[in-house]
Every structure is written in C-alpha cells, then in structure tokens.
C-alpha cells in the first residue's frame, strides 16, 4: 500500500531556489503556531518538473509556458482571486505534509537534512554499521564455531533459532553453587535479551587458564605442565567448544532443522542453571592450573617465558 501522502513531492517543495518565489500569503495562524519554522521556509514551485499543478504565469512572463497562450484570457481580478485561493490550498497541503512527516518521526525542518530522506548518520559510524562487525562480538565468534563445511549462512540461521529458543524458554533457575559471572542480570531479565543470556552462559564457564606442556622438562621425558593465561576471545572459544562437545553427547529427540539449535540452546540453559558438565571441566582446568603454578619457577621455563 503506497503512503497516502507522497513524501517525495513534499521534499521537492522544500528545495530552495534562486528563481523568485511567487508572493505567498501568510499561513493561517493556527498552522503557523503548530509549525513555527514553516514561515521561514519559502514555498517554491518547481516550474519545470512539476506537471501536476496547473500553471499560471502571473508575475514572470519571460518563461511563459505555451499552454497559457492558448488559454482564454481572464480578467485580472479573477486571476488574483483564483491564485490566492490556490496558494492557500497549496500552503495548507504543505503544512499538513510537514505535520505528517513529524508524525512519522522525521525532522522535516532541519536544514541539514535537506535532500536526505532519513538524514545523515553521525560520524564516526558505530561499529555495527561496518559490514564485518555487524553482529555482537560474541555472536560473531561463536557463530563461526557452530559452522560446518563453511556454511556460514546456515550457522547464522541456527544461531537465530538458538536465540529464539532462549527467548521462549522460561527464566532459568540459578544454582547458588554455580555462580554466574558478576554483573549478570537477574534471571527473569535473561529470556527477552537472548544475546546477553548466551554471553552470560559462555563467560561464566570460560576458563581463565590453559595448561601448556613442555616436553621433557619434568625429567625422564615427562611433560612439565605450566598454566598459561588466556585472552578473552580464547576463553570464550574454549568455553563454547566445551559446550558443543556436551551438545554432541546430548540425545537427539526429534528431527528437522530445529533439532540442533534446540540441543545447543538446552545446553546453554543447563550451563546457566548449573546442571551442565562444562562447569566440572572448568573446575578441573582451574585445579590443575593451581597445582602446576609452582612450575612457573622452573629456570628453563623462566628463560622461555
């Protein structure tokens, strides 16, 4: 359904022209009060591109249209009356157009936005307007971890289904023994903000360290295990890979394209509720990290690091 009012013609009327505008009567007080700036913008008719309004070349005879020559001559008074009536009608229409635009949420009186339907974006552009960063950073990263055979579009669709599953499932019941990451919103706020839901789940089970093995340094060819800190991205990656491992082990109860996303989403809910085995993995890595931190004092390791 096309809009009832043609916006394009309204903006066309906004353009300021060097050719003298026809003398216009002042707007009625009511409209002028509603639209204070309107009086400052002269209404100019576009004589060459506007073929809808009937022409009357009252004040500039130089660029007269051939059609007016053919028209029967009218008395001067008659012409003035018809002109003022028509002007009045046009102005009313114009004012109504502006009001309609304001109702749409546009700013029709902003001089800076002239010629731009939705105005100019403010600079610098926010990162989400860049094609490579259009998604949340966690979303972008874990969607690629979901991907199989390079099918990113399918992974994105799966991710959208995961988010929709989180949106439709009841708020999680938290387990006090498995505290979420500090700053996580209350559980009843999570479902309607599924991106945060997912982020909270992943960040809560993300390990702080990984265990590196230095071959032969422990003597007798044994590995010397040394904890190494992880960056935020690495931590999330590890956590989500663990979650995907748990998903692989989950039983598939149904079929169809929603099955895999449902399993992932159920695992994420299990993580937030503290039921998932991923928490144990994290605890194990942290325990090993604490146990092996003394190995950081090994001279060779010191030299290496």
């Amino acid at each position: 359904m096309p809009p009832r009012l043609n916006l394009a013609s309204a903006f066309r009327a906004l353009s300021l022209r060097t050719t003298p505008a026809s003398q216009q009567p002042l707007l009625s007080q009511k409209i002028a009060a509603a639209v204070p700036k309107l009086a400052t913008v002269p209404v100019a008719r576009r004589f060459y591109s506007d073929n809808l309004t009937p022409e009357n070349n009252n004040n500039n005879n130089d660029d007269q249209a051939p059609s007016s020559e053919l028209a029967p001559p009218r008395s001067e008074e008659e012409e003035v009356v018809s002109l003022s009536q028509q002007q009045h009608k046009e102005d009313n229409l114009y004012a109504l157009n502006r009001l309609e635009l304001v109702a749409y949420g546009l700013k029709p009186f902003d001089a800076e936005e002239e010629g731009h339907k939705y105005g100019l974006p403010s600079l610098p552009l926010p990162s989400e307007l860049h094609k490579d960063h259009r998604y949340d950073d966690v979303m972008g990263q874990i969607t690629r971890l979901l991907m199989k055979d390079g099918k990113l579009s399918k992974a994105q669709r799966d991710m959208a289904m995961i988010l929709n599953h989180l949106r439709t499932s009841p708020p999680p019941k938290l387990n006090p023994a498995r505290p979420l990451i500090p700053g996580a919103p209350a559980p009843n706020f999570l479902p309607l903000d599924p991106v945060t839901y997912l982020r909270v789940a992943i960040d809560s089970v993300a390990p702080l360290v990984k265990i590196r093995g230095f071959r032969g340094l422990a003597g007798g060819g044994r590995n010397l295990e040394v904890p190494a800190p992880l960056a935020a991205r690495q931590r999330r990656r590890t956590a989500f890979v663990w979650i995907l491992d748990a998903v692989q082990k989950r039983k598939s109860k149904g079929s169809g394209r929603k099955m895999f996303p449902t399993r992932v989403a159920e695992e994420i809910i299990a993580v937030v509720e503290g039921r998932s085995g991923v928490w144990d993995k994290r605890a194990q890595v942290h325990k090993l990290g604490t146990a092996t931190r003394a190995n950081l004092m090994n001279n060779q390791i010191k030299n290496f690091l």
């Binding site: 359904m1 259009r134 959208a160 949106r167 082990k249 149904g254 169809g256």
Partner: protein, 482 residues
C-alpha cells in the same frame, strides 16, 4: 638383453629364474608383499577370510598391510525415540510465549472483525475456542511465528478484508465464492487461509479444511478402488478420510450437534435415521473401514437442498499437489491422476463450480511456492484468470490473456478445466502502514528491541523484499541481531 616384463601378458615375473617360460597368472593369490623375493608359487595357499577381514571397519588396502579406521566411540544413549516422536517434535505447534509481554491494544477477534474495513492494519488475537478449532484443522504451521508472542494474534490486511468480503457476499446471494490464493513465497497465503477459516468459524459456518494437499497424493495413505466406478475408476483413501472426519468433528462440534439428518443412511456401519444429529453420523466412523461412506453421507447431508444448512467453507492448502498425476498406481500399474482420488475430486468439483452449497459458502485454495511442484497448466490458468480480472479503463483495449505454448507438451486439460472460472486473489506485499503496525506489535511484545520509527520500519520493510511479510519476520525476528 631380455625384457624384464613378460611379453605375453605384461606381468612382471617375481623371480626371474622360476618364471622363465611359465606364465604367472596375474590374479594368482599373493600373500606376500610385492617387493618380497619369496616366490609367489611357493607360498602357502591363501587363508579363508577371517572374521576380522569381514568386519567393515577394517579395510584391506594391500596384501600384508592393514589400515584400520577406528570406530567412533559410540555411547549408549538410552533408548531411541519412539516411532513418531521425532516427527512430533518437528510438527509441534506452540501458540504462546510466557516471556513475551501482553500487548494492551490487541483486542480479541470477533465475528465482524475480519470484514471490517476500518480495522485494516490492526492486530487482533484469536479467542481460545477458535484456537482449538484451528488446531483441530491443522491451520497453524510450525514454520510460522505463533510461538514467539503471548497470545496468537494476526494482522488484518487489506487482502483479508477483501477475502472475507467476498465470502460474505457469496453467502448473501447463496452462491459459492471460488478463490485461489496466489502469491510469492512466505507472503502469507496460508495465514490468509487461516483468517478465512477464523471468519467462517466465528460466523458459524461449517469448515472442512485439507491442511496439506500433499498428503492426499504422495502415496503416504492407503487407497482402494471404489466398487462400481468405472471409466474412470475412482479411489478412496479411508485412513485419510477417518482423520478428516475426526478433525471436522472436533472443529465443528457445536454446529453439527444442532444439525439434523434428513434421510436414512442404512449403508453405514451404524444405522442413521432421519432427525438424528449429524454429530452421531460422524461418530459412526470408528474405524478406517467405512469412513468413506460416512464422509459421503455427511457431505450429502450438508448439501441437502431445501433444508436450513449453514454456509460451508471448503479450503485446501498446497493446491499444486493435487493438480498432477498422483504417486498411486492403478491395477494395471498406470499412474492415477489426482482428480481420480475421490476426496480430491470432491474438492476440485467444488472449485470448478459443479457443487452447489445450499446456503452458499466458499471454496478457497492456496498455492504454495516453496515445496510445490511446478504445474504448467495451473500456472497458465492462474495467469489467464488474472489477465481476465484486470479492470479495463474505457477506451483502452483489454490485455490478451496468455495462451498455451504450442511447443510444450506438459499441459493438462483436466487441470485447466477445474480452474476455468475461479477467481484468483494475489496475496501481495504489505504496505509500510501495515508494516509499522505489525512492528509496533513486535516491539510491544518485547521481541523487537528497538524504537519503531519510520527509519526502522523502512529498513525492515526493505530487507523483507519490500514488504513480503514472512521475509520481514525473518529479518526482524529470526536474526542474530536482537
């Protein structure tokens, strides 16, 4: 110098001396590796294949060398899902989401809502009783987004009012509106069918809905020839018939309890006499056997002339599936045309205008573009009807309706005959005003986390193929950017 290869068979002798003059068979059993110097002939005869060799996980690549591929660690994951459980998951229909906020301005649908022109662009929710009726006829589909909102609600579109207006007009004149809904993929044809059904239920019509025409023709239900039909032989699908009868009963229970039979039906499994409610007639179908005769009796009762009967809505989704040869075979192993299946024939006869409903009604069919077969005759017929429907301005010539391609053989006369006089309604893209109303509803439900202004509406409208409703839903509701 002698050649190292045997000139007769190009086989390479494994021991130069031993094979002089003796042709070594190429396919002789070789147990030793090819580089071994042991004479092949001296080797022990090959052992019979051991059980290990027959194991599929072990592949023999070369004699004496095995490459084993370890089987993945298969865990015992409890008992497998029961038969039908996996499909039930796929087909599960959820109609509410307790997390979504209720939208204060959404009103409940009433009998006159869908035909009220002033309500175009507004959202109405389906009352619980209607939900049950629509569930019974499988009008909801799992791919639609009912499950995201607090209450199942629907947008009243311009086309909705047009469609229901046609239905009402037909009933006023005691005629049958015969309409085919056409349009792009996910443009809302099935939802339009759901709205037509809702209108019918709320206005006390009898609704008979075939949720998926595919089920009738893809060879998935039992079929049998109907006795005493020849040239052409007709076929009945009793299991499908029973299912259909049960859905009719569940959906139209209240009205059927009030309608009384006008003739005796002695041929049914249970004897039905005059002045018995039609509900008991349907209840006569307890098993698949006899379901077709019960359905026939019901159909003749509903169409009994001279009695006060409610209007009838006969609707079908995925129309192209019944416009081709079915997957069923006759006794002589020829393919059966879909129109020779009795249930399909009942629908096509009504669509072609050969059945007269006593109090009028409507026959509405929706095409489908995603999973539907391409039926050249149907496409041509719909295009022709559309060309004929164009209102010609005075003084201008009417556009020529398209004609058959003379070099193409795949046309079907029967299909074109059925669609000769139907009305085609295109379910088009929605306008920005409707889009805005819809997006405000999404935002108020808490599912679209943004301010709905002209720019956002325009963005989603454009992303959704300039107002294809399903694409807009995909762009706004099925996205990673929430």
């Amino acid at each position: 110098m002698s050649a190292s290869n045997c000139l007769r068979c190009l086989g390479r002798p494994s021991v130069a001396g031993a094979s002089r003059g003796v042709v070594v068979p190429v396919f002789a059993p070789r147990t030793a590796a090819p580089f071994s110097t042991t004479a092949v002939q001296n080797a022990l005869p090959a052992k019979p294949k051991s059980a290990e060799h027959q194991d599929r996980s072990v592949r023999v690549y070369r004699a004496g060398r095995k490459m084993t591929i370890k089987k993945k660690n298969t865990q015992d994951r409890g008992k497998p899902p029961l038969p039908g459980e996996r499909k039930a998951f796929r087909k599960k229909i959820v109609l509410s989401n307790d997390n979504a906020f209720p939208v204060p301005w959404v009103t409940e649908m009433e009998a006159s809502s869908l035909s009220n022109e002033n309500k175009v662009g507004s959202i109405v929710s389906l009352p619980p009783a209607l939900q049950d009726q629509l569930r019974a006829t499988e009008a909801f589909q799992p791919t639609q987004t009912w499950g995201l909102f607090r209450k199942p609600s629907t947008l009243i579109r311009k086309e909705t009012v047009e469609l229901t207006g046609k239905m009402e007009k037909a009933v006023e004149n005691k005629q049958t509106a015969r309409i085919v809904l056409a349009g792009e993929k996910i443009s809302g044809k099935s939802t339009m069918l759901l709205q037509a059904q809702s209108h019918a239920y709320l206005n006390n019509w009898i609704v008979i809905h075939f949720p998926d025409a595919q089920e009738l023709t893809n060879g998935s239900t039992e079929y049998a020839p109907i006795p005493n039909t020849e040239n052409p032989t007709l076929y009945m699908q009793q299991n499908y018939c029973l299912k259909l009868l049960q859905s009719i009963k569940k959906a139209n229970e209240k009205i059927l309890a009030k309608l009384l039979s006008v003739s005796n039906h002695n041929e049914l499994p249970q004897n039905i006499t005059v002045n018995q409610p039609l509900l008991s007639l349907i209840n006569a179908a307890k098993e698949a056997e006899g379901a077709w005769s019960v359905f026939q009796a019901l159909w003749s009762e509903l169409n009994a002339q001279g009695v006060n009967r409610p209007p009838i809505l006969l609707s079908m989704d995925n129309l192209p599936h019944i416009m081709k040869m079915s997957e069923y075979r006759s006794a002589s192993f020829d393919k059966i045309h879909s129109h020779d299946l009795s249930l399909v024939r009942l629908f096509t006869e009504a669509l072609a205008g050969n059945t007269r409903f006593p109090s009028g009604g409507a026959v509405i069919a929706a095409t489908n573009r995603n999973n539907g077969p391409r039926i050249p005759s149907m496409e041509l017929a719909l295009k022709q009807r559309l060309a004929e429907q164009i209102k010609v301005v005075e003084g201008e010539e009417a556009p020529e309706p398209p004609v058959r391609d003379p070099y193409f053989k795949g046309y079907d006369d029967r299909v074109e005959k059925v669609l000769k006089t139907v009305e085609v309604m295109e379910v088009n893209k929605i306008g920005k005003r409707e889009a805005r109303s819809l997006m405000e509803y999404w935002a108020a439900s808490g599912l679209l986390r943004t301010t709905v202004d002209e720019q956002v509406v325009s963005e989603k409208w454009t992303l959704g193929g300039c107002g294809v409703l399903g694409e807009m839903e995909r762009a706004a509701l099925l996205t990673m950017k929430i």
